[in-house]
């Protein structure tokens, strides 16, 4: 059995660097069950006995105010079953700021575990004039103290042997910082707890329950049981008695622990003189300036988004090509039939459709990790707090919402930094309104079809660009309004105070950045992959059954066999078609050419057209069969479960200007928005490998008619579809992520309901207004 050692420390003390240096980047990353806290465990390299290191989130204290913060405490107390008993704890401190860091160290020592205190960034502290007598400090604390400079890999061996020695050495003495009256109350509360049926509570938890007013241990610990009220009353009474005795809770904790810190550090450590103005401060004078700072921030964001879209594109194309190759490979192995349809139309199309976004996700997280590790992200949150606080959110909501423009899944995962529960839930609920990359195919298709590219103010394509911008703006405006409404109603509460540390700027560490990007990409693949896989199969089955596909498969087999047999004529036809298009282009471009040239071209044209007509006649059975396959597919979809559903919902979508096909295409895109492009292709009787640039889908959509002959599509319908997709919650992966992150089905249901209603009514208003203009 390996030893289990937990590592804890304040944010920005170099904990990640130390963890990576000790474990050599071979950590298993996952989640603690039921909460959003990341579980990172790695084996320490080069020790005689195997030792597993558990990374706990950076924190200023061990006061569990939420379920998430309770996890760290549970791990340390050995109450987290999936980690098991913790044999020792490593508490990492910033050697330049011992007094403040000792607050957490004092709490850690109170746990009564074998402890190693690490004074990290020791080189920086000594350069700045700090004087620390390590052995004297170690004697005073009764535990081992080790000085390290993790970024230079200094002191790691001493730390490893200290960790190995910590368990046999046993725990050090507890600090005992509080007045006796406090401990007397704790003793009473412990017996009260035993009376209420909790005789196993560690003294650390009893102390925390008394200290943390409104904390997790007060509100949730015994929640659900009939003794919850009696427990709360006992705590309130105990605090009242302590107040009488001049020991106010929770103020007593800061007073007692900082007094202990001062007393412990006296004679053994001299802090370096506080720097009056650091380089970081000078940089901040520009980067957090109310005008210059915002301007730089805006430029930076434009660059980041541009980079995400344009740099990720070649990689995405590669992924798309890989997907087609896999599809083709499967098709070459299995003849047309249910199994092949399941594999290519269901699994490869569904799962591949999501994996295509992996380069964008990786690129986005690369930027976020770089900006975070160098310290800029905290400044961005600072700048955005001014705007966010007007809508009841705070600066910490900014990063999740920015991230959501690429994909709401990592965006929702990023809300973990928001402590205030109501502000966090409000952020989670509005994050999917941001126009994510999956909306782009939908926007691109309908804008290129229905928005004119005629010049506006002399700029060609300006109308199309503006429409696209309007779609993004619509999401942001809707999110701001919804957040404001949520914060006034179900998440009622004051705009939470905003307290955040601005770490000193530093050069980003390539290892930390790389490991963060890698972890995020893997999490995305596994999470989205499993769900999309299941959803794709369900949607495929819904649109495949109960029709009889034998005729379709037979025709398909004929098409594929003929494709092989007639490969040469087909190739020839493609060449002729290309030549014809070129010729026509040349004739159109050079109307002023002389008589002789024109006659020559006409002659060439006639020959090409003749050849083509001959080939077309020869290939007619093949073309007919292909058309029939498409027709069969479309009618089978109409008769499928989802087709029936489509007709059922037609009255609902008609006021939006939609026919049943758009309705069911939208419905079928429940797993992921971009599926609507593929779905419309299937439903309009085309082959299944249709993407938004496919000419056939364009013309089929333009020519689609209602039964009475009016065209289905026009600008109003296109706008109504785009508005709907901008606001709707058609993304099962996002909803599953919300479930995971909130640990409840309630919030994904709420998100789906409000977004669908919002999307529906916004699309309704858009259509009804647009047809009257």
């Amino acid at each position: 059995m390996p030893l289990t050692v937990a590592i804890i420390g304040n944010p920005n003390t170099g904990k990640s660097t130390l963890f990576n240096a000790l474990t050599g980047l071979q950590a298993r990353v996952g989640n603690f069950p039921g909460v959003t806290v990341e579980k990172k465990i790695g084996r320490i390299k080069g020790t005689a006995e195997p030792i597993d290191l558990v990374d706990l989130p950076g924190t200023y204290s061990l006061s569990p105010r939420s379920l998430d913060e309770m996890v760290s405490v549970n791990v340390l107390l050995g109450r987290q079953t999936d980690v098991g008993k913790v044999d020792a704890v490593v508490c990492i401190l910033d050697a330049s700021n011992l007094e403040r860091n000792f607050y957490l160290a004092c709490q850690v020592l109170d746990l009564g575990l074998p402890t190693v205190i690490v004074l990290n960034m020791f080189d920086v502290a000594t350069t700045r004039g700090a004087k620390i007598d390590i052995s004297a400090l170690s004697r005073k604390l009764g535990v081992q103290v080790v000085a390290t400079s993790a970024h230079r890999k200094e002191g790691l061996d001493a730390l490893k042997s200290a960790i190995a020695a910590a368990v046999p050495n046993g725990p050090g003495p507890r600090p005992h910082p509080f007045p006796e009256a406090f401990y007397a109350e704790c003793h009473q509360l412990a017996s009260k707890l035993a009376e209420l049926g909790r005789s196993d509570a560690p003294s650390f938890l009893v102390e925390r329950a008394l200290l943390d007013v409104g904390g997790y241990l007060e509100t949730e610990w015994l929640a659900g049981s009939d003794v919850a009220e009696r427990w709360k009353t006992a705590l309130i009474e105990a605090r009242a008695r302590l107040k009488e005795a001049g020991c106010r809770v929770p103020a007593v904790e800061a007073k007692a622990r900082y007094a202990w810190a001062k007393q412990t550090l006296a004679d053994v450590a001299t802090a370096p003189a506080a720097r009056a103005e650091t380089l970081s401060d000078r940089v901040d004078r520009v980067l957090t300036h109310r005008f210059a700072g915002l301007l730089i921030f805006a430029v930076l964001m434009v660059v980041v988004f541009q980079a995400i879209f344009s740099w990720a594109q070649p990689l995405m194309d590669l992924c798309g090509a890989g997907q087609s190759a896999v599809s083709g490979f499967v098709a070459s192995l299995i003849s047309p039939g249910t199994l092949r349809s399941l594999l290519t139309d269901g699994v490869v199309a569904g799962v591949g459709g999501v994996l295509v976004f992996l380069p964008q996700i990786g690129m986005l997280f690369l930027f976020i990790a770089l900006l975070e590790d160098c310290g800029y992200l905290a400044r961005a949150a600072f700048l955005m707090d001014k705007v966010m606080s007007k809508f009841g959110l705070n600066g910490k909501s900014f990063v999740p919402l920015m991230t959501s423009h690429a994909c709401a899944i990592p965006g929702i995962m990023a809300t973990r930094v928001i402590e205030d529960r109501n502000a966090r839930l409000a952020t989670i609920l509005v994050a999917p309104l941001m126009s994510c990359s999956a909306r782009l195919p939908v926007y691109t298709l309908f804008i290129s079809l229905f928005v004119s590219d005629a010049p506006l103010l002399g700029l060609r394509g300006a109308r199309q660009g503006l429409t696209l911008f309007a779609m993004y703006a619509l999401g942001i405006i809707a999110a701001a309004l919804v957040a404001a409404v949520l914060r006034k109603t179900i998440f009622h509460g004051e705009t939470p105070p905003f307290v955040m540390e601005l770490p000193a700027y530093k050069w980003p560490s390539p290892w930390i950045v790389a490991s963060r990007v890698w972890d995020r990409m893997m999490a995305f693949v596994t999470r989205a992959g499993t769900l999309i896989f299941a959803a794709a199969i369900v949607v495929w089955a819904g649109s495949f059954f109960p029709g009889d596909h034998s005729q379709e498969f037979e025709k398909q087999r004929f098409v594929e066999q003929t494709d092989v047999a007639q490969a040469d004529p087909l190739k020839h036809r493609a060449m002729l078609e290309e030549a014809l298009a070129k010729l026509n282009g040349r004739i159109a471009a050079q109307a002023s050419a002389n008589e002789l040239e024109r006659a020559e071209w006409q002659q060439k044209l006639a020959i090409t057209e003749g050849g083509l007509a001959e080939l077309n006649a020869a290939l007619k059975p093949l073309d007919d069969a292909r058309a029939e396959v498409n027709h069969l597919r479309a009618s089978l979809v109409e008769q499928s479960f989802l087709g029936h559903l489509g007709h059922l919902i037609e009255p609902v979508v008609k006021p939006l200007g939609w026919d049943w096909k758009i309705g069911v295409g939208t419905l079928l895109s429940f797993p992921a928005r971009e599926l609507v492009v593929t779905n419309l292709g299937i439903i309009y009787g085309l082959g299944q490998d249709v993407d938004e640039s496919n000419q056939q889908l364009w013309s089929a959509i333009r020519e689609a008619k209602w039964p009475d002959g009016r065209p289905v599509y026009g600008v109003p319908v296109a706008l109504s579809i785009m508005v709907f997709f901008s606001l709707c919650a058609q993304c099962a992966a996002t909803l599953m992520t919300i479930r995971r992150e909130t640990n409840s089905w309630r919030w994904p249901i709420v998100t789906f309901s409000y977004m669908t209603l919002l999307a529906y009514f916004a699309a309704l208003v858009t259509y009804q207004v647009a047809i009257r203009l």
Binding site: P250, F382, D385, P496, P497
Partner: protein
């Protein structure tokens, strides 16, 4: 004579000693954990809402809510 002002009224570069932190117990507790507590010297780096305050080596950005208030005794600079 001591000149005690709320944090919001400190000008950039002014230094003072925190004499009182008021507000909900939770907020006060959190601030203390981050080092912002009574009897600590602070310097206003950038006033505003939110503002940036230097507490020792650390830079904290802060926006208090209506009930929270930090009172600071300004150090008179000669």
């Amino acid at each position: 004579m001591e000149n005690i002002v709320p944090l919001e009224l400190m000008a950039a570069g002014e230094v003072g000693l925190v004499v009182q932190v008021n507000g909900s117990p939770d907020v006060v507790h959190r601030l203390a954990e981050m080092g912002l507590r009574e009897q600590v010297r602070i310097m206003m780096v950038q006033p505003g809402r939110p503002c940036i305050v230097a507490v020792g080596d650390h830079r904290l950005s802060l926006r208090m809510d209506d009930e929270a208030e930090i009172l600071v005794a300004l150090t008179v600079t000669p």
